[in-house]
Symmetry: none
Subunit: 103 residues, 4 copies
DNA sequence: TAAGCATTGTCACCCC
DNA sequence: GGGGTGACAATGCTTA
C-alpha cells in the first residue's frame, strides 16, 4: 500500500536540537516503531469518530422524540461546568484541609 | 440537584413550532426520557475524551522515543486524505453514473 | 444609536489581564479607533457576502445551461484537494529537511 | 495540466430528469463552457478567501491595540441583528402602506 | 506567552 | 417543511 510513505523522521531522544544522519533514512527497527505509533493513533481516531457518530445518533433519536438538540447541548454544557466547578471547590477544600493539617 | 434546569423545551413531535405549557414543566415520563438521553450523551462524550487522551499519550510516548509529533500528524493527515480522496472520487463516479442514467 | 454598547473591553496592550476602569468608559480616541475597526470588518464582511452571492449566481447560471451544480462542486473540491495535498507534501518535505538539519 | 478531470456531466436544459447519451462524453463546446464556469467559481472563492484573511488581519491589528476580538465579534453580530430588524420593520411598514393604498 | 493550527460546534443552504 | 450536508466561525491545544 502507501505505507512506503512512513519513511520518517527519527532522532535519538535526549540530543540537542540538530540531528544526526544528514540525508539518510531510519533503520528498520525505528521504522517499525514509527509505523506502530502511526497505526495506534489511526486506530484510536477511528474509535473516536465512531463515538462521535454514536452521539449524533442519540441527538437524532432525542429530536425524533420531540426534544430540541440545541437546548440539550446547552444543558450538557451547563452540567459539565457545574461538575468542573464542584471539582475545583473540592480541590480547594482539600488544599485548605492539608494546609490546616486536617486529616 | 441541577436537574431543575432541564424543565425546558420539550415539544410533542408533530405539533406547531411554539411550545406548549408556557411556564410549567414536562410530565414525568418526558423528563425521564430526556434525562436518559442527556446521560447517554454524557457517557459517550466521556469515552470520547478518554480516547483523545489516549491519542495524546501515544504522541507523547513517540516523542519520548525521538519521533517528531508534528511530522507524525502530517503523515497521518496525508494518509487520511488519500482515503478520503479515493472515496470522493468513487462518489463522483457514482454521481456521474446516476446523472447519466446508468444502472 | 446602538453605539452605546461599544463602551467596553478595551485594555492598554501590554497590561495585566484584567481591565482598567471598572465601570466607566473608554476615552474618545480609543472609542474612535474601535469604531473604525468595527466598520472595517463590517465592510469586508459585506464584500465577502457579495462574493458568496456571485458564486451562487454562477452555479445557478451553469445549472440553467444544463450542468449539475453538485458535480461541479465535487470537481472543484477535488481540484482544491489536489492543490492542498501538493502543498502539504512540500511542507512535509521541508519539515523533514529542517528536522534533519539540511540546508 | 489536471484539466483532464473536467470531462463532466452535461444535460440539455429543459428535459425530463433522465439523461441522454448513456455512457459517452460531452462535446467540446459544452466542455469549454463547463471549464469556464468552474474557473469562475474558483476565482471567486479565491477572492472570498482573500477577504476572510483581511478580516483576520483587522482583528489581529485591533487585538494588538488592546481590543478584545471576541467582544468585537459580539458587537458586530448585535449590530447586524439591529440592521436586520430595522429592515424587517421597514418592510412591514411598506406592506402596511401598500395595503392601505398610501403612496 | 503569544501565534498558528487543528478540531469542534454552529449555521445556512439545498434537496427531498 | 424537515432532514441532511457542507461551509463558516470559534474555541482549545501545540509549538515557538
Amino acid at each position: 500500500m502507501s505505507d512506503g510513505n512512513v519513511t520518517a523522521l527519527h532522532t535519538d531522544p535526549g540530543q540537542e536540537t540538530q540531528q544526526e544522519r544528514p540525508a539518510s533514512a531510519m533503520d528498520n527497527v525505528s521504522t517499525q516503531r514509527l509505523k506502530s505509533y502511526i497505526e495506534r493513533v489511526e486506530r484510536l481516531e477511528e474509535e473516536k469518530k465512531g463515538l462521535a457518530d454514536d452521539i449524533k445518533e442519540v441527538y437524532a433519536e432525542a429530536k425524533a422524540m420531540g426534544f430540541d438538540p440545541k437546548v440539550m447541548r446547552q444543558v450538557i454544557k451547563l452540567r459539565a461546568q457545574d461538575n468542573e466547578k464542584r471539582q475545583e471547590q473540592d480541590a480547594l477544600l482539600e488544599t485548605y484541609k492539608a494546609a490546616l493539617g486536617i486529616a
